[in-house]
Symmetry: C2
Subunit: 202 residues, 2 copies
DNA sequence: TATCGATCGGCACGGTGCGTGCCGATGCTG
DNA sequence: CAGCATCGGCACGCACCGTGCCGATCGATA
């Protein structure tokens, strides 16, 4: 006990790291409701100034906390089977979006973003567009290998794929289950797949 | 002038109607930021109690204000050409979702809903699912007339169509323009249309 | 017409959170 | 050891939510 004094009073980068961790913990335990600057400060034993010295606003802190856990697992695998790779990734993303800590933080950022168009642009650029881009990369590769038709406009397709997932997890109340993902992929493959046996259940 | 005294102090249904109108006015003028109960009360010259006697929460008022202007123009036309009817309706909805007063109110409701799962369910039921349903009705008719393939799972298709629009207008920062709608309809028709000349630009 | 109760506007309150100032204490750096 | 940036703690002003209380006003009922 005496080896680790109660509050070693870390500073600099160590404090930054700890604050992000506390934010994630709060999101996991208290959910959306626990995500206030004051709550983070209280739990971390930290003055609000220490937080505002690092992030200009509550939204900035949340965005950083989000990217702290959301940047990994963003890349699609490439097994040579687009549908399989998309399905696997959508299942992973869908679960992450629906679970703490990512779910509550995403919701908090979205709530903040409704009142702030600059934040909305940042959210879109750092997360939504990034996810769309990696989706676009994967299906573009599939187009080159002939799995998808050559004349398909894949930019819109990537937006439709990602947008539907975000719609379901953040605006709708339905869960992102396998049926939803298969239904979405059915439509995508029926539209742009080159093999005709695209339906999942057939 | 003297015929209409400054404040006739209306009550009952008349006040209710007026409060909804003031809410819509505020949304049109001040946008999301102006949508607080206190602001509505101030502008209407009304005590907050008069508002809370009618709606149990801020979210309830906003939902009512939304349905006050959003229930019309929800139905698709049926010209016999699905793609044309969907396109027309998506253009209308997209514009409405992006403009005051509907845009700001929708944003406010969404922001509130992130913290309240009951409200999220209500929002989904009264608006999102309703729009999906009328879309489903229209494309189901098209399936019966042979414009769409018989084995298409149209429930997911309706969700994808509506979800993409909501994603773009409420989470993304891109406008709902004709290119986006045509791209979305390209994918939908390529997947489930029965005529092969489905691409818009061809 | 007189009465009475429901509704009204106005005001104040407690609670919460945001973002900012100020203070004296603490810990790193030179 | 000296100096200084960072720290925790506290308080403030502001805004809003939802509630309680008051006396005024309106309208239905007697």
């Amino acid at each position: 006990m005496s080896d680790t004094p109660a509050t070693p009073r870390r500073r600099g980068a160590a404090r930054t790291e700890e604050l992000l961790r506390v934010t994630l913990d709060l999101a996991a335990e208290a959910g959306y409701a626990g995500l206030s600057i004051e709550a983070v400060g209280r739990r971390a034993g930290v003055g609000k100034h220490t937080i505002y010295r690092r992030w200009p606003s509550k939204a900035a802190l949340l965005l950083d906390a989000l990217s702290h856990v959301w940047t990994r697992d963003l890349d699609y695998r490439d097994t040579g089977d687009v549908r399989r790779d998309l399905r696997e990734q959508f299942l992973r993303s869908g679960f992450a979006l629906s679970s703490p800590p990512i779910g509550p933080i995403y919701r908090a950022v979205i709530a903040e973003a409704q009142a702030d168009s600059v934040l909305r642009a940042t959210l879109h650029e750092r997360f939504l567009a990034t996810v769309e881009q990696s989706t676009l990369d994967r299906i573009t590769r599939a187009q080159h290998t002939g799995e998808l038709t050559a004349d398909a406009n894949l930019e819109f397709a990537a937006e439709v794929l990602c947008g539907t997932l975000y719609y379901r997890s953040l605006l709708s109340t339905r869960p992102i289950d396998e049926a939803a993902i298969d239904g979405l992929l059915d439509m995508f493959m029926a539209a742009y797949g080159t093999t005709d046996q695209g339906l999942s259940g057939h």
